[in-house]
Structure formats: structure tokens, C-alpha cells
Symmetry: C2
Subunit: 454 residues, 2 copies
């Protein structure tokens, strides 16, 4: 049977439930801890920060499937299913016998997969009768997605945007404003933690960890607001499972069984979503897949971090999570994959990696942009720098197949478009891009400051 | 039968032929004229500027269907079919009994429908053994599309970009460079006509008409190059018929018969493509539809122009065409719909409008952005300013239905995304956008300079 270039699902074939990998994990992720007491955080404590339904989802290690509410299904239908594309032209350009597929999540105005969780989090906030939500954004994909979701449900949306991105990406900011969000450069003087950081580091251009602290403070100090987050959390991986479930359904339509599944990993939202159903089969012993996380060499949480309890934010106001981390004080170099510059990693993925269910590799950004350009020229999609990490490794694996003659089936996640990353492409086009790999000393310094948890 | 949010065609249902409206027109478009002799241009004369196959398509008023070559079909399959979307959420927000559908052409990296013709023109250039092609671009959508298409076939691509856009839209430029194109700000000193215009108007920020002149000169003065154009031409409308043919096929799947079909009109590429099969039925007397062209009040070729022979470019090196025109010397105000700032209009559409087969309305840009924002917030797609002209009138027609209680079916073309137009959105968000309508005196001045043709 000839596989079409793009496999779409009918509206009736869309997943109607999210899948929770934790239900099938023998070793569950360690509980998240209250930053004050260092004891496992209770649902009650969490509900000051998160919406009630989301707290339930966050703490539920047992329920395998959650029904997707009808209102969210309706919104999903505006931009989903995303296509699963057979990369015929890339295969031809590489001369590989490998069969390459990618699940493209960039065909919506937010430009990435982030919308899948944004709409869910906005829905539960609305359902709880809240006035609005607060969040942080780095590169801006998450902030854009959330502002779209909030606008849809008529919720107020306060976005703390890392100052360097706020200044360098005015267009991202304007998209958020067009959707009615308030965008504040972080650190700002609108929060106590922001003022503290500004006093300590007057010239700082901000960081994701710092913006998280500000957004959390803004949520707890405004009546009727809660904080929402676009990655790392288990609830986010739950919502993002829609990516993997669609992928699995599309592959099944044509009896395709992948050998290798590849995703870029920052906080883990895309990777965790893409691999969900496949990891489920692996955990239940029903099938085996090679699953590869790809991270930037400049921010290598999996490959050079430590599996330990750490703070999720710089200001240390958020719960602690056991994860692969470079230390909450780690400041990654100014690489161009803003979405992959987080010091930590999803607790679920960290546990799975620790237990040997997946691999991780780190790649340098010039080789990532080389892959991005090659892909763009033959497949017609200009990929986001984040997504291009997965492209790099997919190409590498396809080239290995060329050497060995193996006809492996490779599936990778193409999380978004690079429309708002042209400054990075310009650097690459002009030959002015450089690589940066942190030294052992640098990593040891931030890792030595990890909190002591028994 | 419940209509899904998005109607996709299977790969096997994609149109395999383009449709040429001219074959069904009782009054054919007037012949295009040699700018030197003012006599109908011959195929031989045209083949110095255009590829041979494209010359045939340009001059063919009789053949109704052209097979789409397999190589182009393969490329189409990378990003087509585009979805036909039922605007359930917009309908709900408007409280209208009208049923609104839009054909969204923005889901490809060029961000618009322009790719449909770019790939065709690049293919025929490659087939003829050419080295490369030259073109102009205003807002950048066409240049991006062409650079993608050329990169795919390994053709060199020289783009003359209107200087003001070159400076204001560096990201557009970088996308083209990523696809390997050479981008030159126009007017430039690389051509005789450019040098002449620079000498006459030293501080000029350029215009589309001027960039066309430069691109044509560059084509004829370089061995192995031809000129390609993204709109106005009959060949372009032929290629763009894929939009309308897909729309008709998708509607037919659910037995939907549109009452009103709406498209924005700059040079006519999108509108001409979208309406093709419907206009065909109308011309053959098989069905009737209201067909509405929407243009900016600041550049109102249909509604305030003259139906006459005129030059297609400022430098007067291109053939003359009989069309609705504001005069080739007309300089539209700096509105934010770069793709709609052309002084003329497709000859086919001009003849059809003249013969009463379609209507035209002009709209002001603040009301266009109001519609754009309303649409973005409920339908989740941030539209290009050009496309938003069609949204404005679709909303207006839907609101009329609300008053009368009529359940009309409205189909409009959503030609592209607004990712690269955030400066315009920022102006709108900041309340700094203004409208401009040219005075009768201004129009009379440029219209009085129309060439004298018997």
C-alpha cells in the first residue's frame, strides 16, 4: 500500500481521552515537595497555585485515561488532527533506505504543540470560575498559546516574558497582545521576587526560572487567579499525549510500526506527549521501541545533569521535583533554542530515563541549524530551532541506516515553526553562529548547590 | 449530516488538472500588447521573458483543463490539500444563521497561497533547462514561495524586494535566504531601470511596479534566466485554480452549495483561483453565485479604476494589459496590506467584472484589522492583512443574514497568515492605525496618464 505524504485522521478518529503514562510505570515519579517543609505537597497546598482539576491530574499516578471534555475537543478540532507526514523528499535527499515520518504540530497560530495543553488549562480555570491565569514565557510559544486559549474562554491572561525575549521578539509580544494578553518583561517591579532579583542583578536580561517565580507570585497575590505552566508538569504531559495518540492512530491506519521515536527535550512537554502511547506499550511489555530525547549541548539536563530533587524555579517558590537537573542556578548560554533552555526536566521522563526506558543525546546548535536548513529546503517547512534538534538526530539515524542498509522506520516530533526565530537563522545564514558547551566546573558549581533532601 | 470543523480531501481526491476560466468566457480577455509596438504580443516575443510552457498557458484562451505534471502533484502533496474550515466559532460569536466556510492557504512555510503557482513556474523553468528565475516581491509572500520552489528544483532565484519591505521585514528576507535566494532591495543599482529611478527619485523606498521592471531586466540580461510573476497573469490564475477546485470538491463531499464567495483582490491570484470552478458553472449557466472581490479603499482598482489598457509595471518594460487600473503611476498609501497595493488587476477578472459576473467592494484598513482581531480570537488563526479584507466582508454579509434571518452559505478565501505583519498589528493594538482614501484629483492625475491605445 502506498503511504500518502500526509496521513490525516477523520474528526471521528481523534483521540477522545488523554493517556497518563504514570499508570503503567512500575516505579512512579517521586512526589513533588513543598518548598517550605520539603514534605510531599498536598492537593490542598497545590490548589492555591493550580486549578483544582489540574491538581488532581498532577497528582494522579494511577488513572490511565482521562476523558477530554467536549469544549476542549471542539477547540482541538479547529487545528487538529495535525498531519503525520512521510518525509519522502528528505529520504530521497539523504539516499537512505530508512522511512521517516514526522508529526507536525506547527500548523496553528501559536506555531507549536503548546496549544494542546494551554486550551486544557484555560478550560479548567474557566470551569472553576477564575478571573484569569498567570504564566511565564521564554521564546514565546507557550505565552502565545496561552493567550489564544484565554481569549477563547474570555479569561484574563498575564504573561511574564523573559526580558531578553521581550526585547528581541517584539512580534511574539504583539501576537499575545492581539489575543488580549498583558505581557510584562521579567524581571519586573510588579512582584516582590522581581524587585529582589532586579536589586541583586540590576542589568539582568532575565531567565525562565525567574519569570516562573514572578508568575507564581502574581497568581497567589491576585484574587481569582491561578498559575499555569506549559511544560515539565505531569498534567502537561497528560494533555500533550494527544500528539502521540494521534500519531499512533495514524500509523495504525497503514500498519506502520516505528523502530525509533525521536523528540526534542526542554522541559519534556513535546517528547512526553509524542512517546506516551508507545512508552505505554513498552512499559506494559507489549512492544519495544528505541526512544531518543534530544537536548542542546549547551543545556544538557539528561546527559550531564544529576537525578535529584531540585527547585523548578530560580526564586525557589515552586515545589521541588525529582528530576534530571543542572541546578536551578544554572544559566544556559544564549543559544537559539529558547524552549530548550530549562535547567530541569519532566519528573516522569526523568524517572523513565533513569530506569532505562529511553536514551538521550545532546547536539550542538550549528549542526542543528544545518539539519534545519536541509530539512526546510526539501520538506518545505521552516522548523523551529527546538524542533530542529529532533531533525538533526532523525537525519543522523537515517544516515546510519544508509550505511547498514537497514530499512528502519523513524518517527520524530516536529514541534513548531521557526517564523519567530529568523534572528537565529540570520546568524546561521551569515556564518556567525557559534557553539557552546558548559565546562565540568561550570556544571559542578550549579549542581553543588542542589537542595539537600533526604 | 454534521459538517466537521475541517474538511480535508484524501490524497486521491486532489485535483489532477488546473481549470482555465477563459475557455468558458464568451468575451475573452483582450490580448496583451507589446509595449514597443502596442500590437498583440506574440508567443515568440513573450518567450524571451517567460518559459515556453508558461507562454502557452498565458496565451491559451480555449483549453479548459491542463494536466498538473506529476512533479508538481508530488510537491502539492507536501502541503495540500489545504483545509476547508467551517467557522463554527465565528458564526456563534456573530450570532448569525449564516454558515461560514473558509479555505485556508496559510499552512505552508511561505504562509500563503502563492506557493501553488511558484512551484509550477519553477518546474517549467527547470524543465526548460534554465539556470534560474528572477522576480519581485512586495510584502514578501511571493518571494518566499518562489525561493522555496526554486530551492526544491535546484534553480537559482533572484528576488527584487521593494526597499521599504526589505528594510521593515528583515525576517521575510532571511526566510528567502535560508532557501538560498539572493534578495536585492529595489530600486537597486544592479539594473539600468533601477539606476534611472534612483537618479530621478534619490530617496525612494521603491514600489512593486518598479521592482517588476528591475526583475524583468535582470531576466532578459542574464543568459539562462526568465522572469516569473506571482499574480495578475492568466497563467497564475490557472495554477491557483487548485484552490477553487479543492474547495468545490470539499463542498461537494457534504452536498454544500455556497451562496456567496468572497476573496481579497490585489492582482487577483487568490480570488481568481478560488472562484474558478464556481465562475465556470456561472459562465456555462449551470449555477449562480454571488462573487465578491474585496479591495482596500486605499488602492481601489475595481471600484474606482478604469477598464483600459495599461502598463503592468512602472518602468513600462512589460506588456500592456486591458484591466481595471488606477494608472501605472499610482502610488498607493503605505497601507498594511502589501499584497493589495498593486495599481492594476488580472485581465481575466477585469473582463468578468466588466461583464457583470462579479461584484467588488472596497474596505478601510482599521475595519479590516477589527475583523482580523475578532476572527483571530475565535477561530485561532492570525490572518494576514490581505486575507482580512475577505474576513471583513464575510462578517458583514453574515451580519446581514442575522438581520434578515437568512441561512446563507458564505465561502471565503483565507489566503495567509499574519506572522510577518506584526508591525501592522502593533499599530492596530496601539490605536495608531489610520485610514486613507485617495481623492478624485489624485486618481484622475494617474488615470489621465494612461497610454493611448486604439
Amino acid at each position: 500500500m502506498k503511504i500518502p505524504y500526509k496521513i490525516y485522521l477523520e474528526e471521528s478518529e481523534l483521540p477522545k481521552q488523554w493517556y497518563n503514562m504514570r499508570a503503567d510505570m512500575k516505579v512512579k515519579p517521586a512526589p513533588i515537595l513543598n518548598p517550605g517543609t520539603l514534605e510531599p505537597v498536598t492537593a490542598e497546598e497545590l490548589s492555591g497555585i493550580f486549578c483544582e482539576e489540574l491538581v488532581k491530574q498532577e497528582l494522579d499516578n494511577d488513572t490511565a485515561y482521562f476523558d477530554i471534555p467536549e469544549e476542549i475537543m471542539d477547540f482541538y478540532k479547529m487545528y487538529r488532527p495535525s498531519p503525520l507526514t512521510r518525509a519522502y523528499f528528505l529520504e530521497k535527499a539523504l539516499g537512505t533506505p530508512a522511512k521517516i515520518y514526522y508529526k507536525f504540530e506547527g500548523n496553528n497560530t501559536s506555531g507549536s504543540h503548546k496549544l494542546n495543553s494551554a486550551i486544557a488549562q484555560a478550560y479548567y480555570a474557566k470551569k472553576q470560575g477564575l478571573k484569569g491565569v498567570t504564566t511565564e514565557t521564554g521564546a514565546g510559544q507557550w505565552g502565545t498559546a496561552l493567550s489564544m486559549a484565554c481569549s477563547f474562554f474570555g479569561l484574563d491572561c498575564k504573561v511574564y516574558m523573559v526580558k531578553v525575549s521581550y526585547e528581541q521578539k517584539p512580534f511574539r509580544r504583539e501576537v499575545m497582545r492581539t489575543y488580549g494578553a498583558t505581557v510584562t518583561p521579567s524581571p519586573s517591579d510588579t512582584t516582590e521576587v522581581g524587585r529582589k532579583i532586579l536589586a541583586e542583578f540590576p542589568g539582568t536580561t532575565g531567565s525562565l526560572g525567574c519569570a516562573i517565580s514572578e508568575a507564581v507570585e502574581a497568581a497567589v497575590s491576585h484574587e481569582g487567579y491561578r498559575y499555569v505552566l506549559g511544560s515539565v508538569l505531569s498534567q502537561v504531559l497528560l494533555h500533550q499525549s494527544v500528539i502521540g495518540l494521534e500519531t499512533a492512530a495514524a500509523l495504525k491506519k497503514y500498519d506502520i510500526k516505528p523502530d525509533i521515536i525521536i523528540g526534542c527535550a526542554g522541559g519534556g512537554s513535546n517528547l512526553g506527549g509524542l512517546i506516551s502511547p508507545f512508552m505505554g506499550e513498552k512499559l506494559r511489555g507489549e512492544a519495544d521501541y528505541r526512544i531518543i530525547a534530544v537536548e542542546p549541548a549547551s543545556c544538557p539536563s539528561f546527559t550531564r545533569g544529576k537525578f535529584a530533587y531540585d527547585f523548578c524555579d530560580t526564586g525557589k517558590v515552586c515545589p521541588l521535583q525529582k528530576m534530571y537537573t543542572l541546578g536551578s542556578g544554572f544559566i544556559p548560554s544564549a543559544n537559539h533554542a529558547g524552549g530548550l533552555r530549562y535547567h530541569g526536566m519532566s519528573g516522569i521522563l526523568s524517572q523513565l530515563y533513569h530506569d532505562g526506558y529511553m536514551e538521550a543525546v545532546s547536539v550542538e546548535q550549528t549542526s542543528v541549524f544545518e539539519a534545519a536548513q536541509q530539512f526546510a529546503r526539501v520538506e518545505g517547512i521552516l522548523p523551529a530551532p527546538e524542533s530542529s534538534h529532533a531533525i538533526r538526530v532523525a537525519i543522523d539515524e537515517a544516515l546510519k541506516c544508509k550505511e547498514t542498509g537497514e530499512e528502519k522506520t523513524i518517527v520524530f516530533g516536529l514541534t513548531g515553526t521557526g517564523y519567530f526565530d529568523m534572528v537565529a537563522y540570520q546568524k546561521y545564514n551569515d556564518g556567525e553562529m557559534s557553539d557552546y558547551i558548559p565546562s565540568d566546573e561550570e556544571l559542578n558549581a550549579s549542581l553543588s548547590a542542589l537542595p539537600k533532601v533526604d
